[in-house]
Amino acid sequence: MQLLFQTLVNGLLVGGLYVTISIGFSLAFGVLDVVDFAVGEWVMLGAFAGVSARAWFDIDPFAALPVVFVVFATAGWLLAPLIYRVRTSRYARPALMALAFTFGIATLARGTMLTTVGFDPRTVHTGFATGTLSVVGLDVPWLRLAGFIFAIVATGLFIGFLYLTRTGLAVRATAQNKENAGLMGVNVKRISALVYSAYVGLTGMAGVLIGAIYAVTAQVGPQYALLAFFVVVLAGLGSVLGVLVAGLFLGVLQAIVTVYIGASYTLAIVFGVLFLTLLVSPRGILRRGIAV
C-alpha cells in the first residue's frame, strides 16, 4: 500500500508539470489551429537554458525563470507570424503545411542542440529546493514539490488570464471561431502571436523544472512532445479543463506503469490508451474537445 500511495503522489507531482506543458500547447492549437510539433523541443531548450544559466552566468536556474520566460516568449513572438502565414496561405491543406513547418522547426532545434552539446545527459542544478519532505510516511522530494507548486501557480495565472481579462476573452473567442472573433474587432493575428509566445514562454519555464527533476539530453524533445500530445488528445483538442484532468492522469499512469510493469513499456501503454480514447471518445475524456 505504501508503495502504491508513494507512486500515486509521485505521479500527481509530475502530472502537474505535464499540465503546464500541455495547457499552453492546447490553447496554441485552439487559436492557431496548428499542432505544434516543437512543444517537446521548447521543453528541451528550456532545460538547457537552465543548465547554461548555471554554467555561463552562475545564476541559480530557478531565479532565472523569469528571464527564461522572457527569452522564450520573444522567440515565440518572432516565430508566430511565420506559422500564421503558412496556416492562412491559400495552398491546399494549410493546416498540414503548418504542421510540417513546426516539425521542421523542431527538427532544426534538435539537430542544432545535438551538434552543439552532443548526446550527453545534463541536469539543471539548483540550490533552492533540496532534500526531502516526509509526510505520513511518504517521501516527497522538495524539488518535485517545487515543480508541482510552480505548475499550479503558472497554470492558475494562465487560466486567470484567460477567464478574467479582456484579452483572455479575445483569446477564447478566437479559439472558438476566428471569423466571428475578427468581425467583433479582435486582431486574430496579434492574438495568435500573443498566445503562441505565452505558450512558448510557459513551456520553456516548465523545461527548466523538468531539467532539474530528470536529466535531459538534446534528443529528449520528442518524448515530451508525445506526452503533451497524449494529454491534449485525452483532454480533447482545445479543452482547457480536460488538460488539467488528463495531465494529472498521465503522470499517475506513467508512475504506475514504471513501478509495476517496467519503464520500457510506458510509450506502448500510453499509445494504447491514446488509441482507445480516439476510438471510444474522440472528443476527449470530458467530451469537451473538438471531434471530427
Binding site: V35, R90, A92, L96, F103, T107, F229, L237, L274, P282
Partner: protein
C-alpha cells in the same frame, strides 16, 4: 500530345532504360550503392506522398511500416525458418497493411492533427516494443544471411521503386480511386456529398501508402544484413520521407522521387565530407521549414509544365476553415 506514343519518345525511353539498367557496370561499387539508396528512398518518398500528398493526411509514423517490414523479413529469414527472400516481402506488406488499417480506422475519421499524432505515437510504440521483445532480439537486433553481390540489391530496389511508382501513378492519376482521393483532400464535405465514402477512401490510401515502405524495409533489411531498432525504426526515417516528399512536391506524381534523389545524394556527400554528423538533422529541419514557407509545391513546381497547376491551386481558396463550430 501528352502521353501519346511517338518514335522519338520510345527511343528516348529505351535509351534511358538501357542506361539505368546497365549502371552498375559503368559507375563502380560506390555509386552503385548510392543509387541503390536513391531507388529505395524514391520508393519511400513516393509511398509517403500517397497519404501525405494525395490524401492530405500527414503521417509521422511511416518508419513503423518500414521497420515492421524489415523485422518481418528478418524473422522469416532466420536459419530456423529459412524462407525465400522474395516470399517474405508479401508477408511484410500484409503485416503493414493490417497495422495501418487498425491505426487508420479510428484516426482517419478525425481531423488530420489526430492522425499525425496517432501515427507518430504508433512509430514510438513499435520502436519501444521491438526494443523490449525477445523474439526481435531486443536492442541487439537481428542478423540476416549475407547476399554478397552489390548489384543484386541495385536491381531489386530499382524494380521495387519502378513497381511502386507505376502502382501509385496508375491508381492515383489514371483511375477513379485517384479522383476520389484528391476530391477528399481538396474538399472533404463536397466529396462526401457526391457519395464518396471518405473514411474508406482515406483508409485505402493509407494502407497502400503503408504497404510500399514495408516491402522496402524488407529489402533494406536483407541489404544491410543487420537490423536493430535504431537502424530501421528511428524517427529519422520518417523525417526523411516527409522531407523528400515535401522538397520534391507534395501530391506530384514524380516530385517526391526527385526530392529523394536530390536529398539522398546530398546526404551521402555530406557524410563523406563531414562524417556522421548531427548537423545533418539540423539541415533537414531547416530545409523543411524553408520549403514550406517559400516553395510549398516543391522542386517539381519549378518544372515548366506544372506552373499552371500551381497558379490554379493558388486561386482556389480551399480548406480555409475546416474547423467545425461550437468547440
Amino acid at each position: 500530345m501528352r502521353g501519346s506514343i511517338t518514335l522519338p519518345r520510345v527511343l528516348a525511353f529505351v535509351v534511358v532504360a538501357v542506361v539505368v539498367f546497365t549502371l552498375p557496370a559503368w559507375v563502380g561499387d560506390y555509386w552503385t550503392r548510392i543509387l541503390t539508396g536513391v531507388w529505395m528512398w524514391a520508393g519511400l518518398a513516393l509511398a509517403w506522398n500517397i497519404i501525405g500528398g494525395y490524401a492530405g493526411y500527414v503521417s509521422f509514423g511511416h518508419a513503423a511500416f518500414f521497420g515492421l517490414g524489415a523485422y518481418t523479413t528478418a524473422l522469416l529469414m532466420q536459419p530456423e525458418r529459412h524462407w525465400n527472400f522474395f516470399l517474405t516481402l508479401p508477408v511484410a506488406a500484409a503485416v503493414a497493411a493490417v497495422v495501418a488499417a487498425i491505426v487508420g480506422w479510428p484516426t482517419l475519421k478525425l481531423r488530420g492533427a489526430y492522425f499525425a499524432i496517432a501515427t507518430w505515437a504508433l512509430a514510438a510504440a513499435v520502436a519501444e516494443l521491438v526494443n523490449v521483445a525477445d523474439f526481435t532480439g531486443g536492442s541487439f537486433g537481428l542478423t540476416l544471411p549475407v547476399q554478397p553481390s552489390t548489384s543484386y540489391f541495385f536491381y531489386v530496389m530499382l524494380i521495387a521503386a519502378i513497381v511502386a511508382y507505376v502502382v501509385a501513378y496508375v491508381l492515383l492519376e489514371r483511375s477513379r480511386f485517384g479522383y476520389k482521393v484528391k476530391a477528399v483532400r481538396d474538399n472533404e464535405a463536397a466529396a462526401e456529398s457526391v457519395g464518396i465514402n471518405t473514411t474508406l477512401v482515406k483508409n485505402e490510401a493509407f494502407v497502400l501508402s503503408a504497404v510500399i515502405p514495408a516491402v522496402f524495409g524488407g529489402i533494406n533489411a536483407y541489404w544491410i544484413t543487420f537490423i536493430n531498432p535504431p537502424s530501421v525504426l528511428s524517427t529519422e526515417i520518417t523525417d526523411q520521407m516527409v522531407v523528400m516528399a515535401l522538397i520534391g512536391g507534395l501530391g506530384h506524381p514524380w516530385g517526391p522521387a526527385l526530392g529523394a534523389a536530390v536529398l539522398y545524394i546530398v546526404n551521402r556527400q555530406f557524410l563523406a565530407a563531414f562524417g556522421d554528423t548531427t548537423s545533418y538533422i539540423a539541415m533537414v529541419g531547416a530545409l523543411v521549414a524553408l520549403v514550406v514557407v517559400f516553395l510549398p509545391d516543391g522542386l517539381a513546381s519549378l518544372w515548366p509544365a506544372t506552373r499552371r497547376l500551381r497558379l490554379v491551386r493558388q486561386l482556389i481558396p480551399v480548406g480555409r476553415d475546416e474547423r467545425p463550430r461550437g468547440a
